[in-house]
Subunit: 602 residues, 2 copies
């Protein structure tokens, strides 16, 4: 051992002890003939005092930032105590020291507020990981890992490893594939999730399974997506939706307790997908604050009656008109509403403009469409929107899907501006009763909203079995019985982020075949891709269901961040590159040869 203690360990009670420490030089401060050094390791920082007698040696071996040092010395009480450091009462009077390794000057400062940009930090990730702020993230990640494992263990779950070299069955996202050398012309795929394997484990009787496991999706990377990501993946047999909800509420609460010290004793709210879309404009609402959407006009049906007669073209011609009321925002200036208008016109939001109504303190009204709505109508509108004195109503109009998405973004933006999205406040929510299918206009067919293994609600199974999936008239797909079928699925949402989702699965061969057919898969294709699963359903498959948590995102949110990258030790950038390794990279011709593949000239 290179040390008797760590740099975070020594206290006044260790006074006069002879110790050996090892760590990194954080700072060097010379005061005449003596030198103070802050030495750092994973556990903390300890102050070292090099007296006059070591001066000559220090001059021969000048110490710099990030040098690795080993020292022997005596613990001594500090005259000038540092209350901000757990070791701040003591310092080490150094007797001897040894430079274990030197360091070049780091390309950025190893501090919470570093001067390194993203690219530099990623290239030297091994230095970036030394920063306390990143270390805390990885510690939190491990704490969540540990907490989840303990809870699942106590509840009888087994960690069972599933394979990484599997079969390519692209549904939705693209697979990463791996050429097989021993089976020329054939490929493995990396799993997008262990979905079918955990279902097989249920068929095998392992009725509580979990894994904290890497998954892979070859998608075009959006800002905060990674090609490899981690799931807490769970499955249970002989359960219904309520059982899953209870078990995994327990998991979420346990993690809050273990990791954040929060007793989450409130009942976790539940909301139907319909209500989420209607009131919040998306399926993962942030319910830390109200600010519900008011549906003035949806698919040309007027919920706010005054819209039926308006001459205001923006409202009159719109498919959908939606509003939110921002408490105590009526003092927004013209400059501020103009800026908000620009905000909704950005391509990411994509609206044409923004209408507003201010409810002044004296109960007068000021709107951006005074020409068309008189005071009485504005009052009526405010009342419809549940806006009171001092509130600001923001109104968006346009095509339904875009407008809903836009108002949902605007709601979050306004909440952020008014400090309603607090990092240290946490609110969980279950979203239930999703549609089983979505309609794909391009191919005029159904696609699975969740995945092809999700069961319809028990009451909807007959509708699924007894109807042909074909959509006769594309525009009238909403009339097809499949459009009404609800999935036996559930998402768990934390502060406006989906942190997990799952479903009760299909476990009958006939229903699974019907599902594959509904998704446009021929019998042969279904057999080729999922024959093993259909086969397994013939030998006594039990009812089962499960859930998977997005581990990276869960950690990020618990850490008060919306970016997952700094909660992953070695992440990739938005082009899927590891800039530290410089991967991916070219490989040898010999490797290509052995794998029986060639590069296509580009």
């Amino acid at each position: 051992m290179y040390r008797t203690h760590t740099c975070g360990e020594l206290r006044l009670s260790n006074k006069d002890a002879q110790v050996t420490l090892a760590g990194w030089v954080q700072t060097v401060r010379k005061f005449g003939a003596i030198t103070f050094i802050d030495m750092r390791d994973r556990y903390g920082i300890t102050q070292l005092l090099f007296g006059e007698d070591l001066n000559a040696q220090l001059e021969l071996n000048p110490l710099g930032r990030e040098f690795v040092l080993q020292i022997k010395g005596k613990v001594s009480e500090r005259s000038n105590k540092n209350k901000n450091l757990p070791t701040g009462d003591i310092e080490i009077l150094v007797d001897e020291f040894k430079v274990l390794n030197k360091s070049a000057v780091p390309p950025f400062t190893i501090t919470d507020e570093t001067d390194g940009g993203d690219d530099l930090r990623m290239k030297y990730r091994y230095l970036d990981l030394r920063r306390n702020i990143i270390k805390k993230n990885l510690e939190l990640r491990y704490a969540v890992n540990r907490s989840a494992r303990n809870y699942l263990h106590e509840n009888g779950f087994y960690d069972i490893e599933t394979p990484f070299l599997i079969k390519s069955t692209p549904e939705g996202a693209r697979d990463f594939v791996v050429p097989s050398r021993m089976n020329a012309g054939e490929f493995y795929a990396l799993p997008q999730s262990p979905q079918t394997f955990k279902q097989l484990l249920m068929v095998s009787g392992y009725d509580r399974y979990y894994q904290i496991v890497k998954c892979f999706r070859d998608e075009d990377l959006r800002a905060d997506r990674q090609p490899e990501f981690t799931q807490i993946d769970c499955e249970m047999a002989f359960v219904e939706q309520e059982d899953i909800i209870n078990m995994f509420e327990g998991l979420a609460k346990r993690i809050f307790k273990d990791v954040k010290g929060i007793d989450y004793t409130d009942a976790i709210e539940r909301m139907s997908w319909e209500d989420a879309m209607w009131n919040y404009g998306n399926d993962k609402p942030d319910i830390r604050f109200e600010m519900k959407i008011q549906n003035l006009k949806v698919q040309n049906e007027n919920y706010f009656e005054a819209l039926a007669t308006t001459e205001f073209a923006v409202f009159k011609n719109a498919e959908t008109v939606l509003a939110i009321s921002i408490p105590n925002a009526a003092e927004y200036t013209r400059k501020q509403t103009d800026e908000l208008t620009e905000w909704v016109k950005r391509p990411q939001i994509g609206m044409q403009g923004l209408a507003f109504v201010k409810v002044n303190a004296d109960e007068t009204y000021k709107s951006s469409f005074d020409k068309f709505f008189n005071e009485a109508q504005l009052k009526e509108l405010a009342s419809f929107c549940k806006a009171g004195k001092g509130d600001l109503i923001l109104v968006l109009a346009g095509r339904e899907e875009r407008t809903r998405k836009a108002i949902s973004e605007l709601r979050l933006e306004m909440a952020k501006r008014f400090g309603l999205r607090k990092d240290n406040e946490f609110k969980l929510l279950w979203v239930l009763d999703f549609p089983l299918f979505e309609y794909d206009e391009e191919f005029n067919r159904w696609v699975a909203r969740h995945h092809p293994f999700t069961s319809p609600k028990p009451g909807d199974i007959d509708a699924m079995i007894n109807n042909n999936h074909a959509i006769e008239v594309a525009e009238k797909y909403l009339d097809h019985p499949y459009s009404k079928i609800k999935a036996n699925a559930y998402d768990i949402v934390l502060n406006g982020n989906e942190i997990g989702g799952g479903s009760i699965r299909i476990y009958q061969r006939e229903l699974q075949e019907k599902m594959f057919a509904a998704l446009g898969m021929s019998k042969e294709e279904a057999q080729h891709k999922f024959g093993f699963l259909l086969g397994a359903f013939e030998y006594g498959a039990p009812p089962h269901g499960g859930i998977a948590f997005g581990f990276d995102r869960l950690c990020a949110i618990l850490g008060g961040s919306e970016s997952i990258r700094d909660f992953i030790a070695f992440p990739k950038n938005n082009s899927g590159r590891d800039v530290m390794l410089d991967a991916p990279s070219t490989i040898d011709d010999k490797q290509l040869e052995e794998l029986s593949i060639k590069l296509k000239k580009v």
Copy 2:
């Protein structure tokens, strides 16, 4: 919930309770108008009694093996108790039942001694996994996983995930590679181990790291190798060999305690690589029994002096003559020694023949080379080999490497035949002081015995730095100083199997560059492949070292098996195929197109 209790839970104390159970039909036994069913789940077996009143319903819904059943009924005391079952005191008087899912007749019996062959079992692995014997293996695997995590957690290790999509740097084994769609013509590799990442984590200051992690090697599969396998991967900073040995002896002992209930209190033996090769013929000796190898003649040097003058051509002309003495085996018949001779002549062993000396009970001697050795010489030989009355000495002669390997195999075979390799006896051993380099005749260059990141012993570093690696005269490679350098490496051996191995690493850029050069890597190649690591060593890399345990094999040995396959939920066969999934398989042209690769015509 489909059940109030599991099938392993009910006892006499539950008498008269109304319960709901769910599980699989193990057996159906009709006795006139009543029917007994053994219902099985992961937790056990419970006997169900269907009375006369359910007869009609049973006839309408005949139950078969592996049907999934839900029943409601009352716990009742059995008249005919089964002492072999934890639930054997009770049975359930069934009031109502529901078939949750039917089952076709399984292709093999779901019993410990199944009638299913390997291929069938692998194709229907989801049924094979229902067998109690396999379930016990996976339970043991999870118990080892849990035990290791607890121990490492208590000792301050963090589980930190390292990436799976990395850079191809083939050293030794082949990489599996993954074509990158977003970076046409470039490839990721799957990690053969997280070696460089865990070293970077040490550079980053996370001084105790672990992971239970999948690794990948594209090797031609020998029996009992898998292309994907699991390691318990660990690394520590500021440590020397002794620290690693202490920490991971603790881990091994903890696993014995938690998983097998064994207090492994004995000190764990240590042996140098030299001694292992000299006394046991291999570097992972099974020391549950003695039966050491006697080196009669090695590289034409006679250790047993009588060999200097023998006219027996087999001994006279051999490079090496080795013997083992088998206690109490002198009664081996001619037929048995003939059979043993055939055994050593099999291609897997590859010897020309076998010589033997029987030490009879009356201290007379009978050998297969009586013509050349008189009684006195045989006595001398027996004494040299420490053979006593009733023992059988087996002698092999030939080229050194082959003969050593053969006698080592023969030793294990004889131990097996005499019941000395007991499944429930466990003996750990550290093997130390490996050579750092091996010599590759084909390319006349050095190869790393462990891997290129292993440090020489501290005393050998100068020999490494101060000598050029070039081998002037190929045949005299043993004269090169590099052949004498010992590695700062250690293997941990259990019952003749290497279950783990590791080393103290190089942490200085200069020494690492010297190592890459010694292995024949140009400066450019070293920079291209491992530039990130060489870079990291410039910014304050601490001394560090680690170990990795082969998790699959460790579990197999603890489970009393030498085959890892039945300790892996979904293994691959010897051609690297998953016969259940039928993977690998061909992929769509569209997938190839997107990845910018083509198949080579074969």
